[in-house]
Each structure stands twice: as structure tokens, then as C-alpha cells.
């Protein structure tokens, strides 16, 4: 059995490494007859070289829209309202379609949600990967391309005999690995994987997740892993960005987020992770959410927040670094003049 691949130190930080992707103020709206749905409403984050960043949140909070926005793949009724996406010292959102086309796959690859079900059913697996390579690099000799594709198969743990097979002949786990092979075919700097293991059974999910980790280490790529399974995030990522209704409400190291979640929504997410070791009372919360076309002024989480204060209903909370590697957008945390941060609940209870 090979070395465990996920035993690296998790406190390891990437924040002193180079920034490979820098997303600034990204807004993506969808037009509807009753007004725009503010699917992604001003998100900022950096992705550092070699790290895996998790992007988590409940269904509909804007994760996939953010991914599509970063790659400029938004189509009507969606539109990018504002923002910048810096990759390799150029802003993707200011590029022509041709310039973008050259960078997709080669610099920035996306494994879209449900990718394994959108493989072309009438094309052999090898032909689909060949297509990706030749579209960017021009036609290749048959032997060379075959060698390269088999090498890719090896990296993601696929047997060579599926070379001539069609998608329907493969299991879900194998199709998902074909998608990973395509994503790494042109040696990108960044891979965005959208719910890539979500539809799989738990054992297969583990195999695919471990394949992704191994490929990531081997190629040294940076990765954004989109998902909603907190257990999987704990296993796979270095930092986590928590999204709620189009906003990132917290970005923290995986340990900080799991052991000391700062934002009330992150706390709720961590508390509702079902346990397999301890039978505990169910934590019940109400799910009142606002109309995504008409968010309330102030904090985006105010309708569900157990700590909501007057200020939250009018002022949007700024991002505060509550401790190293942990930034939270919530009025509970106040930065003092000396740079220290206090939790207003501590003042309320110990005057």
C-alpha cells in the first residue's frame, strides 16, 4: 500500500506563497422577470500557489456561478456585473474571447458540476481527451497522443483498456476520473472542481478524492474545490471560504474553521455536520431566507442569525481578521485601535 497522501501538516500555510488567482469584487447576476437574482454579489479571495481552497455553502448560494464567473463562462440570462479575476498577471474579465480560449484548460481548468454526465456519449474516451489536447496544441501523431493519454490515465488511476470505450461503459467513479484527466491534460496552474465527488457512493468518493489529492501533489497545481460536504472538506483542503447567499462570510484555515468557526453561519455549518461517533441532540434551526432578488440592507445572514443586532440591519459588516488565517464578515467582531479584535458578546456578558 502506498504512503498516505493526506498526512501533511495541516497548519502549513500557503499565505506566504505567490498568489496565482486573485478574485476581486466579482458580481454575477441573473435576469428574471421580477428583477435580478444577485447570485454572486461581490466576492474577494486569493488562491495561493499549491494550495487547495474549499468553497462551501448550501445549494443555491452561488458556488457554481462563482466558478463560471471566474472562467467567464456566464451565459444569458446571467451576466458579469463587475469584478476582476487576475491570473498570471492579466485580468481575465478584460480579455477577448480568443485570449480567454487560449487560457482555459492551459492555465485554468474547470471540472463543471455533473461533468461526468456530460461526456459525449457517442465519442470514445480517448477521442474526447485527444480533442482537448489538439484543440490547443494542434494535430499530433497518433502514437504520441496515445502515449500521452495513457500517461494521463495512469496519473488518475484508470486502466489502459478503457482507451477505446464509450462513457456508458464506465462506472461513475471512472467517468469522474476521465474528467480529472481532461482537466490536467494541458498542465494548468489552477483547477476548479465543482462538486466532483458529490454524486458518488462513499467508497468511490474516497477513491476519487484521493486521486485528486495525489494528482494535485504530483503536478503542484492550485485547486478550488467546490462542495457542501464538510467532512470531505476537512479531508481535502488547506483553507475554506464559506459562502452564504452570494457573499463570502468567512475565509479561514481548515483547522481554524473546524475548531473555532468565527461567523455565526460557519458555526451553524460546523454544528450541523452529522457525527458518526457520538449520538447527540439534533440542532434545529429555521431556514428563513430572503428573496435573492431583494437582499435586506446590512448583513446578508441577519434573518437566520441567532446574534442579530440593530447594526446588522443597516450596515454591511466589514471583513475583520479575527486571528491569523481567519477573516470574518460579522459585526460581532470589532477591530480595536491597537489592532486587537474583540467579540462584542464578551463585553455584553462581562461588563
Amino acid at each position: 500500500m502506498s504512503q498516505p497522501i493526506n498526512n501533511r501538516s495541516i497548519t502549513e500555510t500557503y499565505e506566504n506563497k505567490d498568489v496565482v488567482l486573485d478574485v476581486k469584487g466579482l458580481r454575477v447576476y441573473y435576469e428574471t422577470p421580477k428583477g435580478d437574482v444577485l447570485a454572486v454579489d461581490g466576492i474577494d479571495f486569493k488562491l495561493y500557489e499549491g494550495e487547495t481552497l474549499g468553497l462551501v455553502g448550501e445549494s443555491g448560494c452561488g458556488k457554481s456561478t462563482a466558478a463560471m464567473g471566474i472562467l467567464q463562462l456566464i451565459t444569458p440570462p446571467g451576466r458579469i456585473v463587475s469584478g476582476e479575476v487576475w491570473l498570471d498577471s492579466s485580468n481575465l474579465l478584460a480579455m477577448s474571447e480568443e485570449e480567454l480560449r487560449q487560457r482555459r484548460w492551459t492555465k485554468l481548468a474547470l471540472i463543471p458540476q455533473g461533468a461526468m454526465n456530460s461526456l459525449n456519449p457517442t465519442m470514445r474516451i480517448s477521442a474526447q481527451i485527444r480533442d482537448v489536447i489538439e484543440t490547443h496544441e494542434g494535430r499530433k501523431r497518433g502514437d504520441d497522443i496515445k502515449e500521452r493519454i495513457l500517461e494521463l490515465f495512469k496519473m488518475v488511476g484508470l486502466p489502459g483498456r478503457i482507451y477505446d470505450m464509450y462513457p456508458h461503459e464506465l462506472s461513475g467513479g471512472m467517468k469522474q476520473r476521465v474528467c480529472i484527466a481532461m482537466a490536467i491534460a494541458l498542465d494548468p496552474m489552477v483547477i476548479i472542481a465543482d462538486e466532483s465527488t458529490s454524486a458518488l457512493d462513499v467508497v468511490v468518493q474516497r477513491v476519487v478524492a484521493q486521486t485528486m489529492l495525489r494528482v494535485k501533489e504530483a503536478l503542484g497545481v492550485s485547486m478550488i474545490m467546490i462542495g457542501h460536504d464538510m467532512g470531505l472538506m476537512a479531508q481535502m483542503v488547506n483553507r475554506i471560504a464559506v459562502m452564504y447567499a452570494g457573499h463570502i462570510v468567512e475565509i479561514a484555515g481548515v483547522e481554524e474553521l473546524f475548531y473555532k468557526p468565527g461567523h455565526p453561519y460557519s458555526q451553524l455549518l460546523i454544528e450541523s455536520v452529522p457525527s458518526l461517533t457520538e449520538r447527540k441532540p439534533l440542532k434545529i434551526t429555521e431556514g428563513i431566507t430572503h428573496d435573492p432578488r431583494n437582499p435586506p440592507p446590512g448583513c446578508i445572514f441577519q434573518l437566520r442569525c441567532p446574534f442579530v443586532m440593530d447594526e446588522c440591519r443597516s450596515v454591511e459588516p466589514p471583513i475583520v481578521e479575527i486571528r491569523p488565517h481567519q477573516q470574518v464578515a460579522c459585526h460581532l467582531y470589532k477591530e480595536q485601535e491597537d489592532g486587537s479584535v474583540i467579540d462584542v458578546r464578551d463585553i455584553a456578558t462581562n461588563p
Binding site: P4, S59, P159, V203, V207, Q210, F258, V273, P274, G287
Partner: protein, 328 residues
């Protein structure tokens, strides 16, 4: 008077597919006692036969062989009257509440239909009271939800409404097929809580179908783990998950990602290609192609359930057969 609520005996379901018949369920046995009410979990990966059991109990499909008894009576032999009673006593809640609700009708309509189908009320007032009571049981109020359309409610609320609808008929058993798998984690607890309360306060039993072990661990009484149409392990849910005995269940429990960044998966597992291609074992233990502890004996013999612990903890694996182990 029989003591059992539901009894499934040697149930086998084969789907005819030309030459390659699919055995979706083989010789399955299950008993749910009348008292006390309990939550029996059927867990397994997709294609393991979970939904087949739900569909058999609900009468959507027919058994190839075996029988299903409800309160001691064979449900396939019932008179028209008995069938009507059965359909009232056994209610269903499914995965996607969107699929069940017609988007053009308000929530009120869902309840009006039930009242009408089961002739439950003599007048409007009585009907209104019944609906309100059922909604209160799941923590909702008529004035908040009855005038709404399905899309105006959260997934958690829709699923609780389905529970209220099932409860209103005062059934003895609710078949819940993946009721929380489409609901976000932070809203799941409210649905699981309703199931617990219906069990404890209204004496309603559940056949809870899921692929997720953790919810079974939190609310389930007995659990049955299916692998390719056969039961690999059964027992009290916490016993089975705390100390799994079958190699498949051990692998399964071990693969659930721990929500703790300091407890990582240990080692990598390799799936044999045969399994990935879903070549189902035709004879012998269904887990043989993947089993890290397989023996020659397992190849051609299907293991029965062996007692492996207290409180009905059983596993179908030859590792627990003394004779086989002595020879091996």
C-alpha cells in the same frame, strides 16, 4: 393478534433484462414489531436494492418470490377493503419534495387531496382543524404555509410538509426514501427531529432508506446494510457503525470522511477494475471481488448471517463461521 407490524419474508426481486436478469434483491428478511415503534434503516450504495425494498412495501412493484405481511396478513392477498386500509396505514415520503408537489397548486391543495382521498372530514371546519394539527406536529403553522406555492418554501419546510401530510392519515408505518438527501445539512435536523417525534409521540414506525450512515447513526434503531441485493450486516445502528464486522461495512464506515482536519483517511484504497465495471458476482459472496480478506470458500458459497455481537448484531461473512475458518 399478531405482534408484528411488517414482516418481509424471503423477498426476491428479479428485473428481467433479456439474458442478463438483474437480481435487485435476494432472500431479504425483515420484521418490524408493532410496539414499540421504531426507525429501521436500510442503507447501502446506489443500486444495492434499497429503493427496491421501498417500492415493494409500497406496492409499486411485485415480488418475484417471497411475501410481505402487514399485521400478519399477506398484502398481496388482501380484499379491496384490506388493500385500502393498507394504503392508509403505510404512507410514503420521498427524496425530492419538488417532484411530489405540483408547482401550480398551493400547499393547501396537497392536504385537501388527502382529506378527500381518505374521506377524512365531514365538513370544512373539521378538515381545517386536522390540517392545522398535522402542521403543528412538524413545527409549522397553516397561516404561514398553506397559501404558499412549493417554490416559496425551503427544502426543509417542503419535506416537513410531506411528513405532516403522511402523519395526517394516522399511518402505522412511513416509508421514507432518502428524505433528507436533497436538503442542506443545516436544515436536515428539523426533518430528522420530526421523524423521532412521530415515532415517540405518535407510535409511527419508519422504514428509513438512506445512503448516509450518519443520519442513521443519529436517529435509527435497527439498521440493515445492503450490498448488491443482499444484507451484509444488521443490528442496532450504533452497534453496527461503532464496531462493523463485515469487511464491506468496515470499508464503508472507514470511508465516510471525518469532519475533523486532524483525523485523515488512512491509506489509499484501490478498487479492483471488475468491481468498477459493476460485474456483479453471480455466485458466492457478493463482496468477493473487492474483499481484502476473501477466502476460497467465499467464491462459490453465499454466506448466511452469523451472530457477531449483542442485540441482534449479525454479519453475512465466512470470517465468522468457525468451521470454515478452521479449514482455512
Amino acid at each position: 393478534m399478531s405482534e408484528t407490524l411488517l414482516q418481509i419474508r424471503n423477498a426476491t426481486k428479479v428485473y428481467k433484462q433479456g439474458k442478463n436478469d438483474v437480481v435487485a434483491l435476494q432472500d431479504f428478511n425483515l420484521t418490524i414489531a408493532k410496539e414499540p415503534a421504531s426507525i429501521v434503516t436500510i442503507a447501502g450504495e446506489s443500486g444495492s436494492g434499497k429503493s427496491t425494498i421501498a417500492n415493494l412495501v409500497l406496492g409499486f412493484i411485485e415480488l418475484t418470490s417471497g411475501e410481505i405481511l402487514f399485521e400478519g396478513r399477506d398484502v398481496s392477498q388482501g380484499t379491496a377493503n384490506e388493500m385500502r386500509e393498507y394504503r392508509r396505514n403505510v404512507q410514503a415520503v420521498f427524496q425530492d419534495p419538488f417532484g411530489v408537489y405540483n408547482p401550480y397548486y398551493r400547499v393547501q391543495h396537497v392536504f385537501d387531496l388527502v382529506v378527500k382521498n381518505f374521506k377524512m372530514a365531514n365538513n370544512k371546519n373539521q378538515s381545517r382543524e386536522m390540517i392545522e394539527e398535522a402542521l403543528n406536529v412538524v413545527g409549522l403553522y397553516g397561516e404561514d404555509v398553506l397559501r404558499k406555492y412549493p417554490h416559496q418554501l425551503s427544502g426543509g419546510q417542503r419535506q416537513r410538509i410531506m411528513m405532516a401530510r403522511a402523519y395526517m392519515v394516522k399511518p402505522k408505518l412511513i416509508v421514507a426514501d432518502e428524505p433528507v438527501s436533497m436538503v442542506d445539512a443545516s436544515l436536515r435536523a428539523s426533518i430528522l427531529d420530526v421523524m423521532m417525534r412521530l415515532k415517540e409521540e405518535s407510535n409511527i414506525s419508519f422504514l428509513y432508506i438512506t445512503h448516509d450512515l450518519s443520519t442513521a447513526y443519529q436517529i435509527g434503531d435497527k439498521i440493515m446494510l445492503l450490498y448488491q441485493g443482499t444484507v451484509s450486516e444488521t443490528g442496532v445502528a450504533t452497534d453496527v457503525i461503532d464496531t462493523p464486522k463485515h469487511p464491506y461495512v468496515q470499508l464503508l464506515v472507514d470511508s465516510v470522511p471525518k469532519p475533523d482536519p486532524n483525523i485523515r483517511w488512512e491509506g489509499e484504497i484501490i478498487l479492483p477494475p471488475e468491481e468498477e465495471m459493476r460485474t456483479t458476482a453471480k455466485a458466492g459472496c457478493r463482496f468477493y471481488p473487492r474483499c481484502p480478506q476473501r477466502m476460497d470458500h467465499c467464491k462459490n458459497n453465499l454466506p448466511p448471517l452469523y451472530t457477531v455481537g449483542d442485540r441482534g448484531h449479525e454479519a453475512s461473512c465466512y470470517l465468522y463461521d468457525e468451521e470454515v475458518m478452521a479449514k482455512a
